[in-house]
Symmetry: C2
Subunit: 142 residues, 2 copies
DNA sequence: TTGGTAATGAGCTAAGCTAACTACCGTGAC
DNA sequence: GTCACGGTAGTTAGCTTAGCTCATTACCAA
């Protein structure tokens, strides 16, 4: 494999990510839930109880964006909002039982599109992607 | 590094890609050009002369979406539309000199956000991401 | 003529930002 | 203890970006 420069790699990676993100948008792992909603729900389940601000930071969106996502999830009974015990400005978000079930279902869905694509890869490729996911997440955090 | 299953890897990768894509949206490598516009312009420059349909396929969007992107690029003088020599239904898209310069600038911009992040990685990490980009692009094509 | 293809316009949803506003908190001065 | 001030949290409103489907028009090939 021929090594490329950082700027060339940036172009390759950027293109791949944009297109794969587009591709993922078409899949609806859980009925009506969109990719963004499911992503937020998953982060909330993993993070336990979070404030909207914390969840927005985790997901790399601004708070008003997260407010909208949360409203949708709450409407669907997947998220619960409770007042903060000591800070009147805050609320605490937790997943409901239905929300946890949804995350479980999406996480373990054998028929999930991306999981299927990954299953078609060999072990080395999967390993490469696992390493890459960690690095990409680090970049997204910066 | 502990190996995970394909479904777990799907969750990791999906999250990383969603968040990194969001992060990239914030960067405007070339003034007013959006990520989608720049991506299309880059693909067109790499592909030479393409029809709107071909460019849409390359970018993983539907033709009407690409029509809109092209209109924006043409307005900015970055893309040229010419009638197809033998097929009256088609047009041929090519980059103008200004478009080529824009792609060159974006590709080589040392200060580009993603390139800078990649420059902060070690060689092994860059190599991992280069391999991963190829795999991700393959998945996006499926 | 018929069936198919290409491009576009219209209408809609998803996704995200910023600005502005309201409510609340913590701290320092009095 | 009270109050003013600066800061924080969450939300609403308005806007742009991103993308799809459906319908339409024009053109092609058999």
């Amino acid at each position: 494999m021929k090594r490329v420069s950082a700027t060339e790699l940036a172009a390759l990676l950027q293109g791949a990510i944009i297109r794969l993100n587009r591709r993922m948008r078409h899949t609806r792992p859980l009925g009506e839930l969109t990719l963004s909603q499911l992503s937020a729900l998953t982060s909330l389940e993993l993070g336990g109880a979070l404030s909207p601000r914390e969840l927005a930071e985790t997901e790399r969106v601004r708070p008003p964006t997260m407010t909208r996502i949360i409203a949708k999830l709450e409407n669907r009974g997947l998220v619960r909002r409770t007042p903060h015990p000591t800070d009147g400005r805050q609320i605490i978000l937790t997943t409901t039982e239905a929300g946890r079930a949804a995350v479980r279902e999406a996480t373990q869905a054998k028929q999930a599109w991306l999981a299927e694509r990954l299953n078609e890869l060999n072990e080395e490729e999967q390993e490469t992607l696992q390493r890459a996911a960690t690095i990409l997440e680090k970049i997204a955090s910066s």
